[in-house]
Each structure stands twice: as structure tokens, then as C-alpha cells.
């Protein structure tokens, strides 16, 4: 390439660039003029308009919180409602001397230390020009006194507000849950626009799980305010959309009966309808008053609740994990029948203990003198441990745990509450992953009587019992019966979840074998739950369980008298009734209650009676 053409190229490039730069410069000038035009439009043409908005203290957009949906039980009894309450609020930016104002207010109404502490706490978190509550639940006298003195306090207002109230107090708390003030963590999670006017949010239970439905959608008002920030008139209003009303599957009468049956004990009861999965009663005892939490719980009261050794805040029905003990025996027996390990009439000789081949460790039966020759029915009726030890050894852990899995052990039932525990269904695989160890034969043995690594929640036990009642059909437990959209009269029901594949036995008669054993454990002369058989007017199938909290040494006797209460065995009982057409399945656990037959079974009987005999009582 010659210097000449290269120079020509350069000239051409320079020319092109110059042209481009000039065009760009012109575009820049044009856009700058557009900006100036826009600014002139705002600052000269519309100056008056914006000046008004600014000078006379602006239009404010005020969010209007939606009314929270109500919660009912299945029969329409109100479980959670909204009550009007009055509270005193201060907009700190509009108060000349905050301390003087607080002192003066303290002379008119009673302000205690905790009101002031909370006020100062909230004040640091609030946005500017927002109202900070000073005192909630004002009395009539206080409202009157404030109204007279109102002129003295610019920036101080009495506001009416709807506050969540739980009319039943301590009842069904662990299912319903409660609402509380939105905290910093929740602030990250929620849609801030939609919660702009909302102060409370579901913290636990149904209130939390169905928060989205219960809350509704925020509305807003454009308000013209005067120089001191008081609203003069509403210019425009978009009404809020209230939350949905929720109907629970709970039957509050049954819930009450169940809570009464467990009175004074720590423990849990879960009762459900096997065919639909509807949870009829959901009890965790002891309980507490959710109304304490709604407007910020007093710190001392909260400490007391938290440090209570009986742990009232702990949701045992949902999160309590217990060794299921003998309550899982019917399922283990079913596994053995299905796998052909043993026939229903085949007998095992129980001499009070069992030893693994080639070992001398004695695995004891609860009955030290032995049950003698025992068949499957006897084994369930008398809860003979040795029968299960023998059978389990032949069956093996793999067959046992894979058979139990569809009964929903070791995984959440999917009930509509947050924080459900999954329990533990031990298996070779589980132990390798959880403990990094291999499996021992001895573990298979104790696994067969629901001890060892086994853990299950009361909800899981109720569900597995419901599956037996249904003879394999699985409808998971749930608390939501239906919901009603705002303004609608009709309740939109929720369909039961029929998506789970049923458990199909090779020989369906095996269901009858174990159910017969469960029935005779109550009505049989030697049944472990025979004490609840008096005056039974319906058929029941059940199974007792007693789970060890404390392991005994090889030759030690379990002596309740000598042991501290915390080391007493847990008492369990699962049952369903009537056998022909199961209407209710129930799981009861009484912590440190002692024997399943003596303590837990009578509790379950009261629940079954309350539900099944109610119609008869009503008729009388």
C-alpha cells in the first residue's frame, strides 16, 4: 500500500469521524434541550401545582390495611376474630418536645415502663412521619380524657384499629397459632407494598400457614394533610380487599373433650377422619393463651413460658418425636404376614426373653414370666415382645423398613402446618447416612417393638392408624376444610388429597388378621387395653404402646416409684372406630405417663366416646 492511498484512507477516516462527531454533538444538544424543556414544564408551567402539593404540606399516600380473614371450626364456631380496639399513637416528627409530651400524657392516662420502652424501641424502627403506638387497648375513660386534652398535644392521636382476638383462649392453640407484630426477619420475606399498612402477621399454626389467604390486599388513600400533618380530606380511595375466611376441619367440641381428657398431663392427641384426612382434634398439652402474643408479649410472661419445664410453647402433636413403642406392632406383624415370614396361626414360644443365635444377651419380653405359645392374635392382644423378636430376626430390617415406609414413617405427613418433624424410620441406609455405621442384628430386634432409633410424631401415628383403618388407602391429614372469599356467601371446600397410591396387600385378608388382634387387645380378656372395654357400644381396634425413656441395665427392674417422673415411660395408644366403617382414628401420647394400657387408652376412649356417642347424646 502506498503512502498516498494510506493518507487518503486517513483523510477519509478523519472525515467520517468528524461527521459522526458533529451529528452526535447535535443529538446531545437536542436531548439537552429536551431536558431543559421538561424541567421548564415542571418548574414554570406546573410550578403552581407542585408548589401547592409541597407548601401546604403535600398529598400523602396512606395505605389502608385489609381486614384479616376469620378462622372457624368445621361447624362455624369462631376460632379467631378481629375486635375493635383503641390505641394512642404519636408522630414524633410533629411533636415539639417529645419528653415533655410523654410526661404530660402520663399525667392524664397511665403509662407504665413497658409502654415507654416499647415506644422508644418502635420509634427507632419506624419510617419518618409514621405513627408510633404508645399505648394499646385504651379504656373508655382514657379515650375520654385524651379527647378533652387533645388540643394540648399536636402529633398525638387516638386510632381505632382491629386487633386479632382468640375467643377460645388456650384451646386449639397449637393448630390455630397466633399473629404478632411483623419483625425484621419477616419484613425481608413479605411483599412490602402489600403489607404497608399491616402491623401483624401470622407467626405459627394456621395463622402462619395460610397467611397469604388470610391477609388480603392493601388499599390506599391519597390524603391531603395540613401543616401539622393531620389528614384534612381523602382525595381518592382504593378500598382494600379483605382476606379470606378459613374453615378448619377441627371439631371444637371434640377438641375440648380431648383437651379435657389430657388435663394436667403433658402430651398430645391427634384425631382424624380416615376417609378424608380431616383432622378433628389436634391437642398439645400444656397450652397457653395466644392473646398474650398479639400485641407484644410482656417479657417476663414470655420468659416464664419459655423456661417452663413442661414447655407449653412446644407443639408436641406436630414436632414432638417419640419412640412409637408397641403401637407400630400391627404394621410389623402385617409385614411378616405379607412376606410369608410367619402364618397367622403359627405359634412362637415365649419364655420371657429372647436371645440371638450364638449370643447370650437377653432381649426381654415385658412379661418376664413369658406368654407361652403365642400366635399372631395373641402377640397383638398381649403385646408379646418375643413373638416380634423372633419374627423380626427372620424378616430382616430391609423388609421391615421398606414395608413401613408407605405408612409414612420417617417423613412429614404434609399436614398444613409449618415445622413438622419427620421422625425416624431406621434402615440400613438411614444408619449409614446418619451415623456412618453398619447395622446390627440386635437393632433389628428392638426395632420390631418400636424402640431403638424409631421416632414418630403424634400426627404420623394418627395417620398410620388411619391407613390401617382404611385398609391401605392413604389420605394425608389436613386442617383446611375450606375457605370463603370476601363478599361470597359460599364456602369453597378443599377436596381430600386422593393422590397417594394405596398400599395393596398380596392377601387383603391380612388386614383382618391384624385388625382382629387390635380389636381383641381391647375386648379380649388378656388384652393390654382391656380396661377400656366396659360399656363399649361400638367396635374399636387399638394398640397400646409404652416407650422407654430410660434404658434398664440387664438385670434391672423398672420401678416407677424409684424413678424420677422425667424418666418414667411414655404412654401411647392408637385406635380407630368403628371397625366396619371407621369414622375416627386417634393417636394419644402421655409423656411419662407410665403404661399405654392404663394411662393413654382411657384418654383415647374419652375422645372416641365424645365423637361417636355425641349424636346419640344429642338425640336423648
Amino acid at each position: 500500500m502506498s503512502t498516498h492511498t494510506s493518507l487518503q484512507d486517513r483523510n477519509r477516516e478523519t472525515r467520517i469521524f468528524f461527521g459522526r462527531a458533529v451529528v452526535a454533538g447535535l443529538v446531545v444538544i437536542a436531548l439537552m434541550l429536551t431536558l431543559v424543556g421538561r424541567m421548564a414544564h415542571l418548574q414554570i408551567v406546573n410550578h403552581q401545582h407542585y408548589s401547592t402539593l409541597s407548601q401546604q404540606n403535600r398529598v400523602r399516600v396512606v395505605p389502608v390495611p385489609p381486614t384479616r380473614g376469620l378462622i372457624y371450626d368445621r361447624n362455624g364456631v369462631v376460632l379467631a376474630e378481629n375486635r375493635p380496639s383503641f390505641r394512642l399513637v404519636i408522630t414524633p416528627e410533629q411533636v415539639q418536645d417529645l419528653n415533655a409530651t410523654l410526661t404530660a400524657l402520663g399525667e392524664i392516662i397511665e403509662l407504665d415502663e413497658s409502654d415507654l420502652t416499647r415506644f422508644h424501641q418502635l420509634r427507632t424502627r419506624q419510617r419518618r412521619f409514621e405513627e408510633v403506638p404508645l399505648k394499646v387497648r385504651l379504656s373508655e375513660e382514657e379515650i375520654a380524657a385524651l379527647a378533652i386534652n387533645r388540643h394540648r398535644f399536636p402529633g398525638v392521636e387516638v386510632r381505632a384499629q382491629l386487633t386479632r382476638h382468640y375467643p377460645l383462649g388456650e384451646e386449639a392453640v397449637h393448630a390455630i397459632g397466633y399473629v404478632g407484630r411483623i419483625n425484621a426477619q419477616e419484613l425481608q420475606r413479605i411483599d412490602r407494598s402489600n403489607y404497608a399498612g399491616t402491623t401483624h402477621i401470622g407467626k405459627t399454626g394456621i395463622e402462619r400457614y395460610y397467611e397469604d389467604r388470610l391477609h388480603g390486599k392493601v388499599g390506599l388513600e391519597r390524603v391531603e394533610t395540613n401543616a401539622s400533618g393531620r389528614a384534612i380530606r381523602v382525595l381518592e380511595r382504593t378500598p382494600p380487599i379483605p382476606g379470606e375466611d378459613i374453615y378448619l376441619t377441627l371439631d371444637i367440641e371434640l377438641q375440648r373433650a380431648a383437651e379435657a381428657a389430657l388435663e394436667g398431663e403433658t402430651g398430645a392427641i391427634v384425631a382424624m377422619e380416615p376417609s378424608t384426612g380431616e383432622v378433628l382434634a389436634f391437642v398439645s398439652n400444656p397450652t397457653f393463651d395466644p392473646n398474650l402474643f398479639v400485641n407484644g408479649i410482656d417479657i417476663d410472661v414470655f420468659r416464664e413460658l419459655q423456661s417452663d419445664r413442661r414447655r407449653p410453647l412446644f407443639n408436641r402433636a406436630l414436632r414432638g418425636q417419640y419412640p412409637p413403642g408397641s403401637t407400630t406392632k400391627p404394621i410389623v406383624a402385617l409385614a411378616a404376614l405379607e412376606n410369608g415370614t410367619i402364618g397367622a396361626e403359627e405359634r412362637v414360644f415365649c419364655r420371657g426373653f429372647y436371645t440371638l443365635p450364638g449370643q447370650d444377651h437377653r432381649y426381654r419380653c415385658w412379661n418376664r414370666s413369658g406368654h407361652g405359645a403365642t400366635n399372631l392374635t395373641d402377640a397383638l392382644v398381649e403385646s408379646c415382645d418375643v413373638w416380634f423378636y423372633e419374627v423380626a430376626f427372620d424378616l430382616g430390617i430391609d423388609a421391615m423398613s421398606s414395608f413401613m415406609e408407605p405408612f409414612n414413617f420417617g417423613r412429614p405427613t404434609g399436614i398444613d402446618l409449618i415445622g413438622e418433624s419427620r421422625g425416624i424410620l431406621p434402615s440400613r441406609e438411614w444408619k449409614r447416612q446418619a451415623r456412618g455405621e453398619g447395622w446390627f442384628h440386635g437393632e433389628t430386634i428392638i426395632n420390631s417393638i418400636g424402640q431403638g432409633f424409631n421416632l414418630a410424631t403424634p400426627t404420623q401415628l394418627a395417620y398410620s392408624t388411619a391407613i390401617i383403618a382404611n385398609r391401605g388407602y392413604r389420605v394425608p391429614p389436613r386442617l383446611l376444610l375450606g375457605s370463603r372469599a370476601p363478599g361470597e356467601a359460599k364456602i369453597q371446600p378443599v377436596d381430600p388429597d386422593y393422590s397417594q397410591p394405596p398400599i395393596v396387600l398380596q392377601n387383603p385378608a391380612h388386614w383382618d388378621d391384624i385388625i382382629k388382634g387390635m380389636e381383641l387387645s381391647i375386648t379380649g380378656a388378656r388384652g393390654t387395653a382391656r380396661r377400656i372395654s366396659r360399656n363399649l357400644s361400638y367396635t374399636v381396634a387399638g394398640k397400646t404402646g409404652t416407650s422407654q425413656v430410660f434404658s434398664l441395665a440387664q438385670d434391672q427392674e423398672y420401678d416407677a416409684e424409684a424413678l424420677a417422673r422425667e424418666l418414667h415411660n411414655h404412654a401411647l395408644f392408637v385406635a380407630f372406630a368403628p371397625i366396619e366403617n371407621p369414622r375416627i382414628a386417634v393417636a394419644v401420647i402421655v409423656e411419662h405417663g407410665g403404661g399405654g394400657g392404663s394411662v393413654a387408652a382411657p384418654v383415647a376412649r374419652q375422645v372416641l366416646d365424645a365423637y361417636l356417642l355425641r349424636d346419640e347424646n344429642d338425640a336423648e
Partner: protein, 375 residues
């Protein structure tokens, strides 16, 4: 032919400062005035908090220091470095995706313990350098193959920055690259074709390529007043601030919108509204004139540069500077959607200021390292 014979010095008149410090007074003067004006506005926006102003002065010092350093590096050196700087910048952008530090919902920083480093900022300079380096190797205007490769060079860092996500910066980075293409003489018909393609594909994307919630987001983005409690709140308040300022403003330190804290982000992205409220249209026009002068000087430097690389780079940096101003002022006045970009040299904060001043350092270097032509 180039020579530096002393006999030719008369061809190129340079002042003492240009020759020895490699600074351009004509650019430096307005920049200093801007910085001082910015401090005054911030002093008001911060409710006369002198600590914040001191911090800003330190940042300004650092930024001007960076400018001084870059002005010493001859454009030939910058040109040699361009591909390497670009490669390193892309690598750090990729690193941000994996080991970046989160802040305000976006992953933008690499944490080196003592300080945090934001690779997307470097890209604002590295990308135009790269495209300018690439295109200046061939005769201009570029052919379609060179255009395609340039577009690819632009696309990679832009996509990486959108992923962080940082819409404002990705917009600037993409613009800085595309400006180089435009200045290199990209044919008009290509530009019209691209515009038609974008406008034409938008409805398709809208109806077939988006979920309903995404459409809602776009609508709120385009018209924030749809959401008066969220995104729209800023715009409503900043329009009130500007509009109530009127012709001459409410006076320094007297803006009610800003001092009663109605105006959010008043130290950073919305500082323009504070200026508009307190100094009125008069102040706004003065500020825009200053900016226009700086952009004009930048284009003048570009036109007078002696090689393609310098020309393209200087032109792109000047036009990118304008994008800052237009997007920020357009956003604050409700003309454009809300995109988080600071107002150059006025907004509080250091990172983007350093990059900006680095760009001005490059402009000064280009202008003061010119050589003499002999005939």
C-alpha cells in the same frame, strides 16, 4: 511520517500545564467547578453534616488523583494494554458471578479484605478501549464481519453485568461500546435496520415471551406511578421537589422536600431533585450548561486526536458521560424509567466517580500526547 524535531514545535501550541502535567485546563476547570457545586448541594442534602462532606472530599481527591495518573500514560500504551485490560475485566466479571459479594440484592463486588472491587466499573473503560482497539486495526468504516465481532465484544460484558443484576451499569457499558461502532462509521442503514428489528420484536416478546408477572414489572418500570407506595413514591416526590422549586428555587438549604425527608435517595441518585428544588430552573440550566461544555470539549479532543484508536475512545467516553446525565436527569424528572445511575460528580459515593475521572484522565492524555506532523 512522524518526527519530533524541535523545528516543528511551532505546529502544536501547548501550554506549560499541557506539556508538563499532561492536563487539559479547559476540561479541568469545569470539572473542578462541578465538584465544588456538588459539595454545596450535598451539604444541603445531608442537613449540613460536615462529616459526610469530608468523606466526599477525600473521594474527590482520590478520583482527581486517578485522573492525574492516567493522563500521564500515552495513548499508544493504552492501546497496547486494551486487549489485556478487557480480558482481565471479563475474567473478574465472571469471578463475580461465582465468588462475588452480595449487597442490596445484587452481586457486584469482589471482596479483597481491605477493599471491595467492582469489576463492572472497570468495564466502563475497558470495553470502549477494546472495541476501539479492534476497529482501529482495520480501515474504517468497518465491514459487516468486523461489526459482528464488535457486537459480540459488547454483548459478553453486558450480559455478565445484567446477570448481577445491575441494569444501570450494563446500559452504560453497552452504550460505551456501541458509541465506538457508531463513531467508526457504522452505516446508517444498519442502524435503522437494528432499530426496526428491536421495535418489531418487542410486541412478539410481549405477547409470547413473557409471563404475566413479568409484564406487570415492565409496566411498573415504564410507569412507576402505577405503584405509588413502591417505585412510584420516588418519582412523585422528586417531581414535587423539582416543580416546587420554580424559576429560582427555594434557596440553598431551604428545600422542604429534601429537608423534611420526603425525597428518598436524596444524597445519591436523586440529588438532582435537591438541586432543582433549591436553585430552580436557573440552577438546572447552569448545571446542564456545564455538562454540555464538558461534553463539547470531549468531542473537540476526539476530533483533534491523531489516530483512530484515540479518536474512537475519546468520542465514546464523552458520549457515555452524556448518557449518565441524560438518564439521571430524565429519571428524576419522570421522563425516563427509574434506572439507578448517579449524577456525575454531584452524587454522593466514590466508585463511579473514580471511573469517570479515569475517563477524563484518558481524554487529557489523548489531547496532551499529540505529536507533530511534518510535511
Amino acid at each position: 511520517m512522524l518526527s519530533r524535531g524541535p523545528s516543528n514545535t511551532t505546529f502544536l501550541k501547548q501550554t506549560w500545564i499541557q506539556r508538563n502535567l499532561h492536563l487539559d485546563e479547559t476540561l479541568l476547570g469545569p470539572l473542578l467547578i462541578l465538584a465544588l457545586a456538588g459539595l454545596a448541594v450535598l451539604y444541603s442534602a445531608f442537613d449540613q453534616n460536615i462529616d459526610a462532606i469530608n468523606r466526599q472530599i477525600i473521594r474527590l481527591g482520590i478520583a482527581f488523583g486517578v485522573m492525574l495518573v492516567l493522563a500521564q500514560i500515552p495513548p499508544t500504551t493504552l492501546r497496547r494494554w486494551a486487549p489485556w485490560l478487557f480480558a482481565v475485566s471479563v475474567a473478574t466479571l465472571v469471578a463475580v458471578l461465582f465468588i462475588g459479594v452480595e449487597g442490596k440484592g445484587a452481586k457486584r463486588w469482589l471482596d479483597f479484605g481491605v477493599f471491595r472491587f467492582q469489576p463492572s466499573e472497570v468495564m466502563k473503560i475497558a470495553l470502549p478501549m477494546m472495541v476501539a482497539w479492534y476497529l482501529s486495526r482495520y480501515p474504517l468504516p468497518p465491514n459487516w464481519k468486523q461489526i459482528a465481532i464488535s457486537l459480540f465484544i459488547v454483548l459478553v460484558p453486558t450480559a455478565l453485568i445484567i446477570r448481577q443484576p445491575d441494569l444501570g451499569t450494563s446500559l452504560l457499558v453497552a452504550a460505551s461500546g456501541l458509541f465506538v461502532l457508531y463513531l467508526a462509521g457504522l452505516r446508517l442503514r444498519y442502524m435503522i435496520g437494528a432499530a426496526i428489528a428491536i421495535v418489531g420484536s418487542a410486541p412478539l416478546l410481549w405477547y409470547f415471551g413473557m409471563h404475566d408477572y413479568q409484564r406487570q414489572r415492565v409496566l411498573t418500570f415504564l410507569n412507576p406511578e402505577r405503584d405509588p407506595l413502591g417505585a412510584g413514591y420516588h418519582i412523585i416526590q422528586s417531581k414535587i421537589a423539582l416543580g416546587s422549586g420554580g424559576t429560582y428555587g427555594k434557596g440553598w438549604l431551604n428545600g422542604t422536600q429534601s429537608h423534611l425527608e420526603f425525597l428518598p435517595e436524596r444524597h445519591t441518585d436523586f440529588v438532582f431533585a435537591v438541586l432543582g428544588e433549591e436553585f430552580g430552573l436557573f440552577g438546572v440550566i447552569l448545571l446542564l450548561l456545564l455538562y454540555a461544555f464538558i461534553i463539547g470539549r470531549g468531542l473537540f479532543i476526539a476530533v483533534n486526536a491523531q489516530d483512530s484508536f484515540s479518536r474512537l475512545l475519546a468520542g465514546s467516553l464523552s458520549l457515555t458521560f452524556f448518557v449518565y446525565i441524560f438518564v439521571n436527569a430524565g429519571m428524576v424528572s419522570g421522563l425516563l424509567p427509574v434506572v439507578g445511575l448517579p449524577l456525575p460528580l454531584i452524587s454522593y459515593g466514590g466508585t463511579s466517580m473514580v471511573t469517570l475521572m479515569a475517563a477524563f484522565g484518558i481524554l487529557m492524555s489523548i489531547h496532551t500526547h499529540r505529536r507533530m506532523w511534518s510535511s
